[in-house]
């Protein structure tokens, strides 16, 4: 009997119930979309911030960060190198998944035909790497220097077989009159090579005066087979907090619990620490310019999204409970009638509540999928990639919808129950 009454009510008032379900669906989709986007925005923005380039540099223990432009701490003099065959290990650390890109560097001085000395840097452009784990990945400066503008020619393509090619900085190219396609001769103490210029780049920095060449050519020219002077790593990191700052000074000062928390969080300092563990005799240090700013921007964006989400959830909650209250109030005559023929208050409340909850569940269900669709639209339009589906959103939205519909209907029902059937039926 109870069931039949509910179904009859639902069918008879289908327009009204559809409207309620529609509003609930809208509210639920809004909440779903915002929650999904909010939970994913950190990762997304973090990816975007990777265009700033590496946030960790790895150098040999004895050497300094600075190369030998100013005649200081030259690696050639100090003789400190990293080993090339250890590079793959970077992708085996605890936070391997967070390492987006990395590129090794080796630099040496070379003489051009006219005797001018330039800085020659060997690196990976778009290197295909087979990892000890069996995975493969493509990494190198093509990703790490995304801000380089190619003014002539094209990016050096390692995989297409541009083995004897180089890329020349714009300032150097202008001074020496080098164009893409030219052949230049580079000579060092150990060897000499004739190489083709694949492209001219404008980096807007010191790099504009250098020549970049594939790793093995520079190693041959500087007689440093299998050796590196530095590695640049671009990693997704969590913004620093007090624990990370304390650990960055000295990880050994932490207690066992704190150490574990720190080691298992993607702080830039813990990633540095883990890189040092796998690369022999290395010092990995965060590039503060990038690491610091990324943290700040990430935090602000997340906080902004959280606040917008709260506002929109509040808005949809009020919208839903408003409508539910209005629709329950409307049914005063029906309630009066049921009461007049002898129904108990409890029965009436459970009847109306069940109706509303069924509507809410249908609305919420539809709303969740619609909202997920909205989140995807946002993800694809803004970041060009899908927004990950977060399971936690489902219970949040479910609880929100149920609470809001109950919150909207219970006070209205209580008020209606207090009315006297005769008065209500009379139409007052």
């Amino acid at each position: 009997m109870f069931l039949r009454m509910i179904f009859r009510a639902l069918f008879r008032q289908k327009v009204k119930m559809l409207m309620i379900a529609f509003t609930i669906a809208l509210g639920a989709s809004l909440a779903t979309a915002m929650l999904n986007v909010m939970l994913d925005v950190g990762d997304k923005v973090n990816q975007e911030l990777k265009t700033y380039g590496a946030n960790i540099t790895v150098v040999p223990k004895q050497a300094s960060v600075l190369n030998d432009i100013y005649g200081l701490g030259s690696s050639e003099e100090s003789g400190a190198y990293l080993k090339e065959d250890e590079l793959g290990k970077i992708k085996t650390i605890f936070w391997a998944f967070n390492i987006v890109d990395f590129a090794p560097f080796i630099d040496t001085h070379a003489k051009l035909d006219d005797g001018n000395e330039i800085l020659l840097i060997g690196t990976w452009f778009d290197h295909h790497l087979e990892l000890p784990t069996g995975e493969t990945l493509n990494t190198g400066v093509t990703n790490l220097r995304s801000w380089w503008e190619i003014t002539d020619g094209k990016w050096l393509d390692e995989q297409a077989g541009d083995k004897n090619a180089v890329m020349v900085g714009k300032v150097l190219a202008e001074n020496e009159g080098i164009k893409a396609g030219d052949k230049i001769k580079l000579e060092t103490r150990y060897a000499a090579e004739e190489l083709t210029v694949a492209g001219i780049f404008d980096a807007g920095g010191d790099e504009d005066e250098n020549i970049y060449a594939p790793m093995d050519i520079v190693q041959k020219l500087s007689d440093t087979d299998g050796l590196l002077t530095s590695i640049e790593v671009s990693a997704l990191t969590t913004p620093d907090n007090d624990l990370a700052r304390k650990a960055a000074k000295d990880p050994k000062s932490l207690g066992a619990d704190d150490y574990e928390t720190w080691y298992c969080t993607a702080y830039v300092s813990s990633i540095c620490y883990q890189i040092q563990e796998v690369i022999t005799d290395s010092v990995a240090s965060p590039v503060r310019q990038v690491a610091e700013s990324e943290g700040a921007i990430l935090q602000k964006t997340q906080l902004l999204m959280i606040l917008i989400t709260i506002l929109s959830m509040l808005g949809s909650a009020l919208g839903i409970s408003n409508l539910v209250t209005a629709s329950v109030m409307e049914r005063s005559r029906e309630i009066g009638l049921i009461k007049a023929i002898g129904a108990h208050d409890g029965e009436i409340s459970s009847l109306i509540l069940t109706e509303i909850i069924i509507t809410a569940v249908i609305g919420g269900f539809v709303g969740y999928f619609a909202g997920f669709g909205f989140a995807q639209v946002i993800g694809h339009t803004v970041f060009g990639s899908a927004v990950e589906m977060k399971v936690i959103v489902i219970p949040i939205v479910a609880i929100l919808v149920i609470l809001v519909t109950l919150g909207g209907s219970i006070p209205a029902i209580r008020m209606l129950l207090r009315l006297r059937p005769a008065e209500v039926l009379h139409g007052r």
């Binding site: 009204k16 409207m19 529609f22 509003t23 809208l26 509210g27 989709s29 809004l30 915002m34 986007v37 925005v41 923005v45 975007e48 911030l49 265009t51 700033y52 380039g53 300094s64 960060v65 600075l66 190369n67 100013y70 200081l72 701490g73 995304s146 801000w147 980096a203 807007g204 920095g205 240090s285 965060p286 590039v287 503060r288 310019q289 990038v290 610091e292 700013s293 700040a296 602000k300 964006t301 902004l304 999204m305 606040l307 917008i308 506002l311 929109s312 509040l314 808005g315 949809s316 009020l318 919208g319 408003n322 409508l323 209005a326 629709s327 005559r333 909205f374 946002i378 803004v382 970041f383």
Partner: protein
Amino acid sequence: MKKQKMFFRMITAAIIRQHSRMLVALLAIAVGATILSGLVTIYYDVPRQMGAQFRNYGANMLLLPAGDNGFDEKAVDTAKNVIKKESLVGAAPYRYESVTINEQPVIAAATDMEGAKAASPYWLINGRWPSAAGEVLVGKELANTLSVKEGGTINVIYEENVGKTSNEDSSIKKENNEGIPFTVAGILETGGSEEEYIFISLPDMAEVTGSSGRLDAVELSISATQEELKAYADKIESVDSSVSPRLVKRVTQSETTVLTKLQALVFLVTAVVLLLTMICVATTMMAVVAERRKEIGLRKALGASDSSIIAEFMGEGLMLGGVGGLLGVVFGFAFAQAVSVNVFNSSINFQPLILPATVIISVAVTGLACLLPVRSATDVDPALVLKGE
């Protein structure tokens, strides 16, 4: 005149009489309008506020000498004149000289400490920024090499004066070839090449070298788009031809990418939230009006024309929309202000355009939402409506 008065009285009476129902409608409209004005305010303010955050990356424009021999200090003033005062975050002039400390060659960068602090906010100082003459910052790497700590003292000798004595060159003061002692105020950590330098103030550098007025570079941190930066660069170059301004591509390019995406994100989110909120407001209004079918029937039975009924309901709706919209503007601004203070630690400017826009939109939405159910109610035979079918 009388008719208008009656019309107005009917509207206000309806609102006051049915206060609980109208309160529901008003609340819905006010919430909708709050979201509208709050989000739009945030949308307009995000680029400015986020742009300021991006200045954490440091300088986005460099002034370098066009020739080989540096340029005059006046270039800083030229740049400051060209660039709008409110968008210039920091300007740090630099003069690089080779000096000798403990018999080791070191690059000394002379700068304006306040300017450097503003232009490179990511510098981490162990100790404090130099504030008085005779104080220096030492890069972390260099500090390790020289094994000095904050509070220590270093002796700085201008490289060209090493080995000379005052007898050979009378222009060199006696202390210059013995070095000038400086106190280490702090150790600088950046993770970059700056860790190899010592940073001293421009007047101190003048004392060490015995010359002044020449600069090797100026770092400018400007909150502006890439196009604006290019315009500034061209203008500076045209005013002072000894200077060649260059954009720090790594910073400008990436900033543009990320900022565009962020703005697009907030825009889309705003659009989605607004759309859904407007529909919510509309359904609530529809429900509220649909409830009053009986009243409409009664009026019709008493001889009111369809148009006068529609006009009355619309009047009510518009009034609600106006009041709700105004409330929304106030709450929305309060919300946007709260967000701004919490997220960016700065207040926002009130956008005067948002006031009329919010009111107009909320009036339009409520008006439309009322129109549909009222029209369908007026179409019906009053007898049927009154009977309750």
